[in-house]
């Protein structure tokens, strides 16, 4: 079956309303990953090339198709119950670092970590 391309500004469902397609393009997550930082190993992902174990508690996440700039994407994430908190620091249009600390305030590698990003692709 041949591939096709549709250009449209609005999608409308018969009963559930309509959506401007700019929300589809600009509002969809462009990257997400769920991984085990003790490896690290990627459990599942979208638009993720690799995750590096920079050091204990520090995971460098590399994005396959880059965002338009380091300031063009917003990140969020979560951790499993054995860790206390985390911060995400964008490094470039295709890379960010997650810093993880345990309940004692020390850097630690969680086994179930996830993050995602929305923003403008290059």
């Amino acid at each position: 079956m041949a591939l096709g391309k549709i250009k449209a500004d609005t999608l409308e469902h018969s009963t559930s309303g309509s959506v401007d397609t700019k929300f589809v393009v600009e509002g969809s997550a462009k990257h997400w990953t769920r991984y085990d930082q003790t490896g690290p190993t990627i459990d599942s992902s979208l638009n993720t090339s690799s995750i590096e174990d920079t050091s204990t508690g520090k995971a460098t996440v590399n994005i396959s198709s880059a965002f338009s700039s380091v300031g063009a994407y917003s990140t969020s994430g979560s951790k499993n119950a054995t860790t206390y908190n985390f911060t995400i620091s964008p490094v470039s249009a295709s890379q960010y670092i997650m810093y993880n600390r345990n309940d004692a305030g020390s850097y630690d590698d969680p086994s179930k970590e996830s993050s995602q990003a929305v923003g403008d692709l290059a």
Partner: protein, 138 residues
Amino acid sequence: MSEILVNKLTGTSTAGSILVTGEGNSTTTNLQQGLAKAFALWNSAGTPAYRDSFNMGSITDHGTGDQTVAFTNSMANANFTTSGQVGNGNDGDTSNSQMRRGSSATGSQRCTIQFATSASNANFDYTYVGLVIHGDLA
């Protein structure tokens, strides 16, 4: 301007895969993979109740600051991503609120919700608990 009236979008080569051209007009992203598969905002105080939700079923209350939300349509596996934020909607609240990822299943996600100060942390029933799920639907 153009408008498509449709109840279902399906890929031609692969039913569950449609590409969308990105903002830079060159790179593409996958429509299905990028969509949030579930979200919920609930009040965990008293009997937990949704304020708004999508693809969410029941809420199981395990105790203070400890709830499991069920998905209406299950995920393909438990390796979906989660993100969330909790609070009471108080602009002056200086405590450190947090939501931890508990056990995950294809049909549900358990969340442990806590507040923390410099002296202690404990489970707490916040009135606004937000959760967003990305990953693969079954």
